[in-house]
């Protein structure tokens, strides 16, 4: 259990199995490596990805399968190796959500893949798989 401070969410108790390490950070935000995954609803659709070290850094994520049935990311060999993924069952895929006025989109080009066995994650790039950084979630 860890207490995590968040400007957006307040101080939250996070169980150890919801603490993630992204050794390479996120692209452009390489200095933030420790995150907490905090459920945002009780259906497991939305979660907050909160930086442990930077209270002001909070992301909203989705489990993409809820919105995009055809989304079947093929993870590159080097990402599989970097994450030490031994079984597809160990991989949890999360996509960062952007809210721009009423438009809600998810980044399906660069999902965060987490090895649930080790708690290690990595933002991967799905080259040539037909997904963009701004795939619209259902209409409001």
């Amino acid at each position: 259990m860890m207490l995590v401070d968040s400007d957006a969410l307040g101080t939250i108790e996070v169980p150890d199995d919801r603490l993630l390490v992204l050794p390479d950070g996120l692209l452009g935000l390489e200095d933030a490596r420790q995150f907490a995954l905090i459920p945002a609803d009780d259906m497991g659709v939305y979660s907050f990805l909160q930086s442990v070290d930077r209270p002001e850094l909070t992301f909203l994520t989705i489990v993409p399968a809820f919105f995009f049935e055809a989304y079947e990311p093929e993870i590159a060999d080097e990402d599989v190796a970097a994450l030490d993924l031994r079984s597809p069952d160990d991989a949890q895929v999360l996509c960062l959500v952007t809210i721009d006025d009423q438009l809600v989109t998810a980044n399906l080009l660069g999902p965060v893949v987490v090895n649930t066995r080790t708690g290690t994650g990595r933002q991967v790039v799905l080259h040539d798989q037909g997904w963009s950084t701004k795939e619209q979630l259902g209409m409001n």
Partner: protein, 73 residues
């Protein structure tokens, strides 16, 4: 910027561990092979820049009302 001329099949080595090889030149298109340790990520620059911008846009400003977000169909 360091500028080097290379022919097809020739390489450059960066920091001892990263090798970039010119594989093919066809018109305006150059095919490049990169050999790097697994810890080194390699992306096309425009994709890298797009992802950096997407991550910055996704960093939340203010609170989110989850109840108002789109629900799965």
């Amino acid at each position: 910027m360091l500028v080097l001329s290379r022919k097809v099949g020739e390489s450059i080595v960066i920091a001892g561990g990263i090798t970039v090889t010119v594989l093919e030149v066809r018109g305006e298109q150059v095919r490049v092979g990169v050999e790097a340790p697994r810890s080194v990520t390699v992306h096309r620059k425009e994709v890298h820049d797009e992802l950096v911008a997407a991550n910055q846009a996704a960093a939340q400003r203010g609170r989110v009302n989850v109840a108002e977000l789109p629900r799965p169909r």
